[in-house]
Symmetry: C2
Subunit: 333 residues, 2 copies
C-alpha cells in the first residue's frame, strides 16, 4: 500500500511509493560531466567579462585580476536591481512594486574542471564564508527582507553556465515557500513551545532509519515526507534561526558535512544534476525561537508533471528510509 505522509513543518501531504520502490539504478539520469570552457567568463584571466567584483578571497592580485580563490560578482543579467525606490502601488485589485534587490554570483573556484563535489573541504568552507559575508553586508540595506542562496548544478537543475557557482538573490519580500515554513514552525512552537526542527533532529537521531550522517554540529537526513527521491536536508543540531549567525567551528563542520553528502550523492547517483538551497530566517528579523535554518539538497532525477505544479502534490517513488540507507552506506566519511 502506498503511504501518504505529511510534512510536519508545512503540512504538505506526499505520496510515498512503498511497493516497487525506485532505487538509484532505476532513474534515467543526466550525469553531469564538465566539458571545459574556453571563453568561460568565470575563469581566471576573464575577470573583465563579469561586472566588477563585490568580494574576493585572494592569494595574490588586485580586484578583478587573477589570484582569487572565491569571487563574488553581480549577475550580468540581474533579475533585480539595487538602485531605485520600492514604490509600492496598486493596480485595481492587484499589488506591485519595483524590482529592487540584488542578484549575485559566487564563483566557487578558479578551476573550471572541478565540480562542487570535487572541491577540498577548505574550498567548500570558503564558499560558506562568502555566503555569510554577503548576507552580513546586504542585510544593512533595510529594504531587503530576504536573501535566497542557491546552487543549480547541471543543466537539468537549471544551470546555464558550467563553471561551478552559486547564486544569491536579495528580495524586498519574503518568498511564499519560506513564509509558509516559518509560519508552520511558528504554529508548532505555539502549540508545543519547542522548535519543530529541534524535535525533528531529536526524533531522527533516536529512530535512525532516515539519518545519513551525523557530525558534531549537524545532522544530514532524508526528510520523512520527502517530495523527491534522495531529497536531503542538513540541519544544525543546535538551534539557530539565521545562517549568518553561525560561527567558525559550525561553518567548518558544515563544510565537512556538505562535502561528504555531495560526494555520497555523486557516488550513489552517478554525478546527478541537483539543486542546493539555503533556508534561513528573514534577515531583518531578530533571532527566532521557532525557526531553524537548514540546507535542502534535491537531485534532479525525475520530471515534474502537471499535478505537482498545479497542486503542490508530490509522488515520491523512493521512500526516504531507502534513500538514506543508500547514502549512509556509500562510505566516504
Amino acid at each position: 500500500m502506498p503511504e501518504l505522509r505529511k510534512d510536519p513543518v508545512t503540512g504538505r501531504w506526499v505520496i510515498i511509493a512503498t511497493e516497487r520502490a525506485m532505487r538509484p539504478t532505476d532513474f534515467i539520469r543526466e550525469h553531469v560531466v564538465v566539458q571545459g570552457g574556453r571563453l568561460c567568463p568565470f575563469c581566471p584571466g576573464q575577470e573583465q567579462k563579469t561586472p566588477p567584483e563585490i568580494l574576493a578571497y585572494r592569494d595574490s592580485g588586485g580586484p578583478n585580476e587573477p589570484g582569487w580563490r572565491v569571487r563574488v560578482v553581480p549577475n550580468k543579467f540581474p533579475a533585480l536591481r539595487v538602485e531605485g525606490e520600492l514604490n509600492r502601488q496598486g493596480e485595481g485589485l492587484y499589488d506591485k512594486m519595483n524590482g529592487v534587490g540584488a542578484h549575485e554570483v559566487i564563483i566557487e573556484t578558479p578551476d573550471h574542471q572541478r565540480t562542487f563535489g570535487d572541491l577540498t573541504e577548505k574550498q567548500v568552507e570558503e564558499v560558506l564564508w562568502a555566503f555569510r559575508d554577503r548576507i552580513l553586508d546586504l542585510r544593512k540595506d533595510i529594504r531587503l527582507r530576504y536573501i535566497l542562496i542557491f546552487k543549480n548544478h547541471g543543466e537539468a537543475a537549471g544551470a546555464s553556465l558550467e563553471h561551478t557557482h552559486s547564486q544569491l538573490i536579495a528580495l524586498p519580500v519574503v518568498p511564499k515557500r519560506v513564509q509558509e515554513e516559518i509560519e508552520g514552525a511558528r504554529k508548532y512552537y505555539e502549540f508545543k513551545e519547542r522548535c519543530i526542527f529541534c524535535d525533528i533532529v531529536r526524533q531522527e537521531m533516536e529512530s535512525g532509519p532516515r539519518v545519513i550522517l551525523e557530525s558534531d554540529h549537524h545532522l544530514a537526513l532524508s526528510p520523512y515526507a520527502a517530495r523527491f527521491p534522495f531529497e536531503t536536508w542538513i540541519v544544525p543540531k543546535r538551534h539557530h534561526s539565521h545562517f549568518e549567525a553561525a560561527e567558525a567551528p559550525a561553518i567548518q563542520n558544515l563544510a565537512w558535512v556538505l562535502r561528504v553528502v555531495i560526494r555520497k550523492m555523486d557516488k550513489v547517483l552517478e554525478r546527478p544534476a541537483y539543486n542546493l538551497m539555503l533556508h534561513t530566517a528573514p534577515v531583518q528579523e531578530g533571532a527566532m525561537t521557532h525557526y531553524h535554518w537548514h540546507l535542502e539538497l534535491i537531485p534532479r532525477l525525475t520530471r515534474v508533471a502537471g499535478f505537482e505544479w498545479g497542486a503542490g502534490f508530490y509522488i515520491n517513488p523512493t521512500p526516504p528510509e531507502i534513500a538514506a540507507s543508500f547514502l549512509r552506506e556509500a562510505g566516504l566519511v
Copy 2:
C-alpha cells in the same frame, strides 16, 4: 526596472522582467511531434493491455472492445489504491495514512496521431464530459476529498505515453496548493464580500491587456502575476466553485474556448509541451461563495531552477501583457 507583482489569490510575489522581455522565438523549445505507436496500450484493439475500463463513450462494441470515442481506465501503475482503510496514525511527531484513492487515465481519442489540439470541438467536449462523469461518480466515496484532473502533454511536461490522455487522481486530502488558493480566496471574501475570481474577471475585461479570448461563458487570460511565460487561465465568467456542477451550455462553450486556446498556443509557441490542470473545489464541500473553479495551462518553455523549487519564488521573463497579445493576435477564433 523589473517589476514585482503579487498574485492576489495566494499572495505569491513574482518577478516580471519588463526589459528585454522574452518573445516566443526566444525560447529553446521541444516541439511535440507524434512519433506513432505500435503496441500503444491506448490504441483501439489493445484494450486488453489496460486494466478493464471504468467508463467509455462508444459508437459500437462492448466494454474493452474497439468502437469507443473516449475511454477511462485505471492507471496500470497507480499512485494510490481504492481498497483499504485510511488508518490515520502518528509516528512520533509525524503523521501518515494509507494511500487510499484512485488514479485513472482518460484516453481522449482512439486516434494515436492526434494531439489534444488536433481534436474536434465535439471530441474536446466529450473529454470534459468524461471529467465531469468521473468526478460525479468518485465523489460518492466520502473518503475522497479532492479530485485532481490534469494533462501532461509532451515529454518536457512529464508525459510518459504519447497517445493523448489526461489523468485523474482522487485523494483523501486536499493538496496544499489548492488549500492555499481556497484559503486566499476566503480571506478576500471575508474582507470584500466578493469572490476574488469574479473581481479578476471583471477587472481584466475592463482593462483588457491580459485578455486572450472572451466567450459567452468564459474568459481566457494571462494572469497578472504569472509564474511562467505564456501561463494561461480559463475562468468561467459566472461564479461556480465546482467544475462538476457545470451544465451542458457551459461545457460546450468551455470545449470551444479550450480548443482555441490550445491551438493558439500550438501556433504561437510551435506545439510546445504543456501542463493543463483543473482547479476546482473539494468534492465533499457544498457550493462555496468564495472559490471559483478554473483551468490553468502552462507551456513548458523554461527550466525550473533551485530558488523556484526552494522558495516558491518565480522569475517570469515574459510579461503577461506581451504573452496575451501574442495569443490574442494569433487568430484561430
